[in-house]
Symmetry: C2
Subunit: 427 residues, 2 copies
């Protein structure tokens, strides 16, 4: 389909026809053998490499429009594709191909005293709607993950990456065709009309089983507010590193620096460092390491005493996901104080304790109610790939359905298959 | 707390204070050892037996009011408690006590090449809101299941069972006290004000993590429509038995009769029997068995020819969950025809094939997208207890989070616990 600027009635009719096609493709995909899905994925990767020229041309078009609209440098960078990023996309699809097929796997099996054999078997969710912004690689990642997990997907990318998304989507369609799978398994909403998002959120309950927002806080919040179907998404990653009195000083400096500064724009980046009141040496070393690395530190009074470069923190700093080279720093009363602060200000994403004391570590790991809790490792490991789960579509901070990295397994459900020999239930 | 008839502001303040207390109790419960939770459950069962007189007195009061309000005989029966039903409640709590504790269980564990050990560990969901009607035993069942799974619960029972629920709840509170657990772990909303339900659905997102409706279609539909937090619930059980050409005649008659008539009011009761066009003998035998057992049969033209007692079916019959001694009956074209009919009219709850042909069975089990699919066993086995999962709080027809019987394990989430030795993420 070509891009259209449809009237409201046309838009609804377009989206309903996309929904019906997705539902029909989902029924086929649910039964598709692993080899067929993998063949499609391999063909997709090949098509992305073969068509890299067309993808770059489309991307140049998006970039030109973005510059005319004066989009920020950060946004332009997210939008930008080059040969390396295109190769990374192809490799990402191949990585998804290499993951074991989750569908049809017997998760559990048991026999009842009456002889019935009960199996819990993994099945796809059905149709997944993905609403995302800027990064065109999400088109490939999301398409591949949904296909591998046996789900049809309806992709709605950002208006700034329309041409890039369409060029990438053409490669995915080619891969599906080559493997004999329905092209409607991966559909891209062919309009930049913003009303399409509202319609997907509120009016496609018959066609979309789960929505996944990928983007900034305002997008995710809008999806969670308006969606009439289940949502997998995280609002933000206000992640903490707690440095305990029993922390090795060098390890504390190394982990805090990596957690904050390796990449400041990812959701697993640390935003607040909490330091045990009894960890004076660690306090000095950690704060100076951060300052010397060019990080702005906003601290409470104790932290301000360490170095004149520390700025005063306000209540707002404990709540802020900077996504920048800025960190909030606070002295707390041991593990209990750290847990209390994280419970109050954290976003239940990823939190870390640095300590050589295993009892303190266990108290922290049990007491912090976040999707990921780490002992002596950087919060920047919060990533499906780093967890060994293959690719991911995001990190869920919900407790319902999927928590933490959302990979192929988290995009599935299960059914109970019961085999009997004529059993009826007694009164 | 005593029953109150609060103003709107008072009601909100009451529910918020219940929510805060539940949140605080949930933090304690998440860390409570299995032995402490089991001690509370044993004390609850003992208290229910010891206070059966008080429960019966309260129940008599509810029954008297219900008769004055001219409630139906079916509703009065659901409301009624007697010594046997009270003993069953106590035994139900003991059955939950006997289930292995799900919390803290390591569901999966693996080591990364960099040495990090990753564990996926089961944790409670937090605070569960349960909105239910008539049957007072739900108070005990739901309280026990939520406690075992480490969740705090806010119970909102039907106005017709206010006194019974309060008397049962007093026993649960006694059990919690005896084990040294916070009484706020199981709270009963102490008002029959219907506005309380609306407030729980829409305005307690800070305090309630998941809602579970237990009751009729209109209650569940209202909860799914208005809830601003995740919901575990099923809309209805329009269950099918498909009798294949290769079905043993006696087995087909026995399973269809049991699936329809053992209890007609349960969600796993069959509502439509589908019969293979090539299963003439089975058609005659099954339809006559149903008619002779006193079941009304509403059939298509082929079925009407079997026996003069068969009434004509209309389009509406394929959609109806009768919950009564009535069944719709239709001739279909083999397994493919059965799957097509179930896809169109079924509610994705529980569906069964009767056949001696294992290839046909596998096609049906794979092709029918329902929470429970059975081969040669009655749909009335759709029950957590019959599945060996201990007690259940309902059967979910959602694919998100929990599907099928919802027992203690389905009332949990998980977190990732990562143990390292100073690992930082490379660029």
């Amino acid at each position: 389909m070509n891009a259209v600027n449809a009237s409201s009635a046309d838009l609804e009719s377009l989206l309903r026809s996309i929904g019906r096609a997705a539902r029909s493709a989902a029924a086929d995909l649910a039964q598709a053998p692993a080899a067929t899905k993998n063949s499609a994925l391999q063909n997709m990767a090949a098509a992305i490499r073969a068509r890299s020229g067309a993808i770059l041309t489309a991307n140049a078009q998006d970039l030109q429009q973005a510059r005319q609209r004066n989009l920020s440098a950060a946004l332009l960078d997210r939008l930008l594709l080059n040969e390396a990023r295109i190769e990374a996309m192809a490799q990402g699809i191949e990585a998804v191909c290499a993951i074991p097929d989750p569908i049809g796997v017997v998760i559990a099996a048991w026999q009842r005293p009456n002889g019935m054999l009960i199996q819990r078997v993994r099945v796809p969710l059905g149709v997944i709607g993905i609403i995302y912004e800027s990064r065109p690689n999400v088109t490939a990642d999301a398409g591949a993950l949904c296909l591998k997990s046996g789900n049809a997907v309806i992709l709605r990318g950002g208006s700034e990456s329309t041409a890039s998304n369409a060029a990438i989507h053409a490669c995915l369609a080619e891969g599906l065709r080559a493997a004999g799978l329905p092209e409607d398994a991966i559909q891209l909403v062919p309009t930049s009309d913003r009303a399409a998002v509202g319609y997907m959120l509120a009016s496609m309950t018959d066609y979309i089983d789960v929505l996944v927002p990928r983007g900034g806080k305002s997008l995710v919040a809008r999806v969670q507010q308006e969606a009439r179907v289940p949502v997998i998404g995280h609002l933000e990653g206000n992640c903490h590193v707690y440095v305990d009195r029993d922390a090795d000083v060098d390890m504390a400096c190394s982990i805090v620096k990596n957690a904050k500064l390796r990449r400041t724009g990812v959701c697993g980046a640390a935003e607040t460092v909490l330091i045990d009141r009894a960890a004076g040496r660690q306090l000095n070393a950690v704060i100076r390491t951060l300052l010397d690395a060019g990080c702005e530190v906003r601290g409470d009074e104790m932290v301000q005493r360490v170095d004149a470069r520390v700025r005063p923190a306000s209540e707002l700093d404990w709540q802020t996901e900077y996504l920048d080279a800025i960190i909030a720093a606070k002295v707390v009363d041991g593990v209990a104080g750290a847990i209390e602060h994280i419970e109050r200000y954290g976003s239940a994403h990823t939190d870390c304790i640095v300590t050589a004391n295993s009892a303190s570590a266990e108290r922290f790991l049990a007491g912090v109610d976040s999707a990921i809790v780490l002992h002596n490792a950087s919060t920047q490991f919060a990533d499906g790939g780093e967890f060994g789960m293959g690719a991911e579509i995001g990190i869920s901070t919900d407790k319902f359905h999927a928590r933490g990295p959302v990979g192929v397994e988290q995009l599935t459900s299960y059914k109970y298959v019961v085999r009997g020999t004529g059993q009826v239930r007694p009164d």
